[in-house]
Amino acid sequence: MMKHQSNSPIETPQSFLDRRGFLGNAATGLGAVALAWMLDRDGYSQAAEKPSSVTGRLAGIPHFPPKAKRCIHIFSPGGVSHVDTFDYKPELEKLDGKKLSGKGKLDPFFGKPGVLRKSFYKFKQHGESGSWISELFPHLATCVDDMTFFHTLVTKSSSHTPACFQMNTGFTMNSFPSLGSWLSYGLGTENNSLPTFVVLPDPRGLPNGGSNNWSQGFLPAQHQGTAFATAVGQQPIANLKTPDSISTASRDAARRLLKKVNRQFAGQFPGDNELAARIKSYELAAQMQTSIPEAVDFQSESAATQKMYGLDNKKLAGFGKNCLLARRLLERGVPFVQVYNGGALGSPRINWDAHEDLVRNHNNQGSLLDQPAAALLKDLKQRGMLEDTLVFWSSEFGRTPFTQGEGGKGRDHHPLAFTTWMAGAGLKPGYHHGETDEVGYQPAINPTTVYDFHATILHLMGIDHTRLTYYYNGLNRRLTDVHGHVVKDALA
């Protein structure tokens, strides 16, 4: 047999990569306690900046000192019209009613490009940064000096679900690991008794594609997003509560004996980490049974705080509660929370998919988003958390600067250019990155791909996006595939 050197991450037991593969496949899930000891024993912990309170973190991470220690993604699915919200286009007023020309063949999703349509909303400058924001967001407008705007996002698909998948996972296909899963896999957690990646769906329903949006893909299953059920009377996560029919005394006795039995079995296989971890996992499960109910209980939140998030307003309370819960989860060590402002496609519209009547749609969705999202930014700031917390907001794409069909009152999907924003740690506050052309159709300068956007998020979390990899079928896979550049201009 020829001597070939393999590039395999799992070939030589001694190689660093081998350990990675092993950890990925076998032991990251221990609630990571056994893992931590394993790292110590193997001497890998020196390589990593490993605060004693963090477990399950990949060796080598962070790759550099992170600006943000935790992260929230507010996702507004359906396609938020950039030219009606954050991307001010005065030229569009002049060109109102004219056909868009000079941009090649117009190829919107439903194939009926209408005429250019000026913004349905008035724009005004806000804050010291003088950022233009439409009247749709009076509350967010007061936060502009803490926000950083990206005006030239470009995505691959003009179809909702592939585009949502790309925003969430970097790929337009099903079952690739989502950003939250990658962070869970890379960062581990400071709190073993809470999930590492929590999803708070819109109270009106899950987004299109459902749980595929927070799939772990080929990463180990524990990195899958945990969608909290937030309705009254529901357990936040499956199997959390010991059934009422089982008495505490009986459960305690059973657990004591289980521990003994499991220790005896593990004793037959000295050095088997998995078996040691199983014993530990029952202790962590018990902790989870108290820590999750505590996290979702708002008793300790002041009336003023609750009011700020809109909890006193029946319409806003659903999303408002989720924003507040997101903050509470971050406080308790959950590294990544995704909050949905919008559900699936369909009728009546419960997301931003404004084909028929943009004003009617965006008025409704915008008012749901505005106050709670602004409250979250302000609340994080007043608690000093915004300094090392990253908040980012996005839709999956924007909407066409022209109407859908002549005489239409709505706009079609637009993947060629749209706006997102971030706020918090490590960013230039009040900064606007990239510019679209005079009508908001295409980037004029500094196009930002979703890969770039993801690379920047990982960068702020202390991760080099080219080095957060997982071996799967032939490649060391990445969130950013083989693409992506950190948007350095947007960083402080």
Partner: protein
């Protein structure tokens, strides 16, 4: 053994025609010493496709021509040759691109230049030829032909029981290691049963095996297990992992695939039947064109479309979006094929030559040409297809023709009677009877905001001339308000009167005519009763509001089928179009009834009245029709006759149903246009046309199929399958043998079972892998033979006990000094719980059980429930494998996401996993059932109970101290608590 190294030299440009370019053409010194230096160090950048600095070093001519910096060489003068200057000063290869050349290598190049640069005629070098420390070449180990190695000699000649053991022991001895002791018989039967069946042995089976002293007891055990239908359920699931089997579409709708299960059953049946693997592969790639075509062959191609499908690509009008989605779909299919059967990632060569393995970009598109005719759907028509063979189709047609004939006859008989009977209108929502009647124009009226009514329509209702009248009060013009609609909109016999959305004007719609829409422009949605009428004589259509003619139009009849369906009153339920208001007094008349004033009182029927409904009274969910019977027979007699006929009709329709054509989700095949390479994978930049071939980096079997872009798509897949299953193929047998080994030992000889390329692992026992592969092919590609080979080995039968010294030298047990214990997979955990509790439903095959309800809000949402009913207690492989309907219990035990290939299961330990076993209602129920079952067998004695649950759950008796602990628990907290402990125990969850 020392496998022969065959140097296969290819030229990139000639990869498509590999018959040339052979080693013998490359005479020394160029072929043996110079070419490798250039290939390994220079060609990566200086190749004809994208020459860095415009310098191409693949051919002599190009080398002499040079690049941006002038000629690379001056023949005869190494000192003046630029190439020597750059490699000597170390600036080439640049840092990060390769290692500095050694002095010997530089000398070799210099001597060759000095001697005049001999270069075999026509020889073009390619970076893909040779393996370097950055990438694999055509000489990569897994691409070389398999030669059966000799069985090695070992020192400890006592231990080996099979050739496998000689290979294993030889590696152990090289490292100074010894194998572990044999496992006990009790361990062995549990291991073998869980391994082959995914279920635990019963206490009786254990006792029987322990009592069997015959020398071949173990062999008989394996034979028994392999003959069990449970075997296919277990090993079929392994294959379903590899082929990303999903039972829903994913993407936006994630629709359930009700006919996908047939492929799952095909896989299970194939394993149970020990279908030769070469046949298994061929059927999945091309079973639909494999003569003679069989049902199994058709179903097998469900493999091609077992992944996700984006239906919304066909909603898009955007051509770019459609093409993008289709191209992604094709890439998904090609990735699955190349990884599943060949452990190669050809899909990584979609945008450029493969970065790590010897696949030029053309290989991706040549493979695409093979499968370009495969699609999930035809447009939005879902790929559920008949699996009847041609002969069966004929039989089927013959069988149903007379039944259809009878149905038609009965229907027309019934129609004749119904035409003589006044038809009452039946209310749609029987739960809303109380608020369906409201005050009307005359007496009561139908509240169309909450209910609609309908009846079987009649041909006369749409035979011109006719007149339709009604009274209606409408509240809103936001949406359409349908007053009266006759037949489905798809029928040319459809007509309806309604108010138009937005404007609220009285309108008529007749899709069988042109124009199909007639609008009056008169708003009738003002919350007041209006008298509305439509007259139609087949050409002229007139609309009246309050007896005033408001619109007249001329219509032209169009071709179309005039299907008769229902007459709908107060809405159009098939499209969920309602009517926000009140409907009173509907009358349909033969001929043109003069409209000459608003009727002052309730209407009556005359000889021209075809239907009259007054909506004053509900009788048995119905509104009476006030048309008098027109036959001599009285209505009651007619009604009885109709009932008899209706019963006959139902029986006949039931009979037709029993002839329903069986469907499977196998997608569509279409003859594709010529396939083009796409530069940078971009649809906007098509490159040269390619034809269907195998991999260019394999010479034997020949990857050239002699096909053109006109060859039928089925023949391409068939040729490809023949090539893939050639006994000489270097990958097919190696890959499956390694997969089977992995499932037995927890780890493959190659640890990356779907990647035998540069980024994958190297085999720990390369000779053993090749020996198994040749043995496998020689034994008819029999997987059951392979199981016997492996399980008979002493290596497999070792105990899992730790050996401290070996653990230090080989912590990963790569060299098999013991049997590695491992946690059961999610499906097995669930199946074992059911088996132990006695609740397992052994039903084999058929549609999946669906432990969820579904709501649809564009996306299909799956809401899980837990049920104790037997139909939900089938083995987990029969659980509907829906992408967004995954189970928290199975997820916690690492069941992979459907729709993505899982060549290897993860084995994690998480608090969520503990929570699932602690509190999941399914698990708790199984603990309870085990307790009940045990009490029924052994009665109330706690000692006996404890003995029994240990036997059932763990297949052994408890030690004395275990028994004492457990009995105490039983006495204090009940038997089910003790069962819970065992079902949560590591021993229960581990195969050792």
């Amino acid at each position: 053994m020392k496998p022969v190294f065959i140097a296969l030299f290819f030229s990139a440009a000639l990869l498509a025609s590999v018959s040339h370019a052979r080693a013998e053409r490359d005479a020394a010194p160029f072929g043996k010493s110079v070419a490798p230096i250039l290939i390994k160090n220079c060609l990566g950048c200086h190749n004809p496709t994208d020459p860095k600095g415009t310098l191409d070093l693949s051919q002599k001519k190009a080398m002499l021509k040079g690049g941006d910096s002038g000629p690379a060489v001056v023949p005869g003068k190494p000192d003046e040759s630029y190439i020597i200057e750059r490699v000597a000063d170390g600036s080439m290869p640049p840092e990060g691109k390769g290692k500095r050349l050694t002095k010997t290598e530089i000398d070799t190049l210099a001597r060759w230049i000095k001697a005049g640069m001999s270069w075999p005629k026509g020889r073009v070098l390619s970076a893909l030829e040779l393996t370097t420390d950055k990438r694999a070449g055509v000489d990569w180990w897994s691409l070389q032909s398999i030669v059966q190695p000799a069985i090695p000699q070992v020192e400890n000649s006592e231990w080996p029981e099979t050739p496998i053991d000689a290979f294993v022991l030889s590696k152990l001895e090289e490292r100074g290691l010894q194998p572990a002791q044999p496992a006990t018989k009790r361990t062995l039967i549990r291991r073998a049963t869980l391994d082959l069946l995914g279920l635990p042995p019963t206490p009786t089976e254990i006792d029987r095996f322990l009592a069997d002293d015959r020398p071949n007891a173990y062999r008989r055990l394996i034979d028994r297990l392999l003959a069990s239908p449970r075997y296919g359920e277990r090993w079929g699931r392994h294959w379903l992992d590899v082929v990303r089997y999903t039972e829903s579409d994913g993407f936006e709708h994630d629709k359930f695939r009700p006919h996908a299960w047939r492929y799952r059953d095909y896989v299970i049946d194939s394993f149970n039947a020990d279908k030769p693997y070469n046949r298994f592969v061929t059927e999945q790639l091309a079973g639909d064109v494999l003569q003679p075509v069989t049902r199994g062959g058709l179903i097998a191609t469900g493999f091609l479309v077992a992944g996700p499908w984006d239906e919304v690509q066909y909603v898009a009008a955007s051509q770019a979006e459609r093409k993008r989605a289709h191209e992604e779909q094709m890439a998904e299919i090609l990735a699955t094929i190349s990884q599943s059967f060949f452990a190669m990632t050809v899909d990584c060569a979609r945008c450029h030559d493969h970065k790590f393995d010897p696949f030029p970009q053309a290989d991706y598109y040549s493979m695409k040409a093979v499968f370009d005719g495969v699609d999930h759907s035809q447009g939005r028509t879902v790929g559920n297809r008949s699996i009847l063979t041609a002969a069966e189709k004929k039989q089927h047609a013959a069988a149903i023709a007379p039944i259809n004939q009878r149905i038609k006859q009965l229907q027309s008989q019934i129609a004749v009677i119904e035409n003589q009977l006044p038809q009452p209108a039946t209310l749609a929502d029987v739960k809303r009877l109380s608020d369906s009647l409201v005050p009307g124009k005359f007496g009561k009226a139908l509240n169309t905001k909450v209910n609609t009514a309908s009846l079987a329509s009649q041909g006369v209702f749409h035979t011109p001339p006719f007149t339709v009248e009604c009274f209606a009060k409408l509240n809103s013009k936001a949406d359409f308000n349908v007053l009266v609609a006759n037949n489905l909109k798809s029928s040319a016999a459809h007509w309806e009167i309604y108010s138009f959305a937005g404007e609220g004007d009285f309108s008529a719609y007749l899709p069988g005519y042109k124009p199909n829409t007639v609008r009056s422009g008169v708003n009738i949605t003002d919350g007041k009763f209006h008298y509305l009428a439509m007259q139609f004589d087949g050409k002229q259509l007139r609309l009246y509001v309050d007896a005033k003619l408001v619109k007249e139009a001329t219509l032209l009849k169009q071709a179309g089928t005039e299907d008769v369906g229902q007459l709908y009153l107060g809405g159009y339920p098939p499209h969920k179009i309602g009517c926000d208001g009140v409907l009173d007094e509907v009358r349909i008349s033969r001929g043109i009834r003069p409209i000459d004033g608003i009727p002052p009182g309730p209407w009556t029927a005359d000889e021209n009245t075809l239907g009259l409904w007054r909506f004053d009274k509900i009788n048995h969910n119905q509104f009476a029709n006030f048309v008098p019977s027109q036959s001599g027979k009285n209505a009651k007699q007619l009604d009885t006759e109709r009932q008899v006929l209706n019963e006959q009709l139902q029986v006949t329709q039931q009979e037709l149903k029993s002839h329903t054509i069986p469907l499977a989700y196998i997608g569509y095949r279409n003859q594709p246009p010529p396939t083009h390479l796409l530069l940078r994978g971009d649809l906007k930049t098509p490159g040269p046309e390619v034809v269907a071939t195998g991999f260019s980096n394999i010479t034997t079997p020949n990857p050239q199929f002699g096909l053109s872009s006109k060859s039928p798509e089925g023949s391409r897949r068939l040729k490809f399958a023949e090539w893939a299953t050639s006994p000489e193929h270097p990958l097919t047998a190696r890959v499956i043998v390694n997969r089977i080994w992995q499932y037995h030992f927890g780890k493959g000889l190659v640890k990356t079972p779907s990647d035998f390329g540069f980024n994958g692992g190297l085999p720990s026992h390369p000779e053993l892998l090749d020996w198994l592969a040749t043995d496998f092919v020689r034994h008819g590609w029999s997987i059951k033979h392979l199981h016997r080979r492996i399980m008979q080995s002493a290596a497999y039968r070792q105990s899992s006990a730790i050996n401290q010294r070996a653990a230090e030298l080989d912590p990963d047990n790569r060299f098999l000094w013991k049997f590695s214990p491992r946690r059961l997979e999610g499906e097995t955990v669930r199946d074992v719980l059911l088996a132990v509790s006695g609740e397992l439903n052994h039903q084999i095959g058929g549609p999946s059980f669906q432990p969820f309800t579904v709501t649809v809000f564009n996306t299909h949402f799956y809401h899980l429930f837990d049920s104790e009913k037997s139909q939900y207690n089938r083995r987990t492989v029969y659980r509907a494998n829906v992408m967004t309907g995954r189970s928290p219990l199975l997820d916690a035990f690492d069941c992979p996401a459907p729709s993505i290939s899982a060549p290897k299961r993860a084995s994690t330990t998480t608090p969520q996993q503990a929570l699932a076993l602690m509190n999941d209602s399914f698990v708790l129920r199984q603990a309870e059932r085990l307790a009940t079952r045990t009490q029924e067998t052994v009665g109330g004695d706690a000692n006996k109970q404890v003995q029994q649950i240990y036997q059932r759950a763990l297949g052994r008796t408890p030690t004395r101290s275990e028994a004492t602990d457990m009995v105490t628990l039983v006495k204090q907290h009940g038997l089910k608590t003790a069962c819970w402990v065992l079902m949560n125990s590591s021993e229960f969850l581990y195969l050792k």
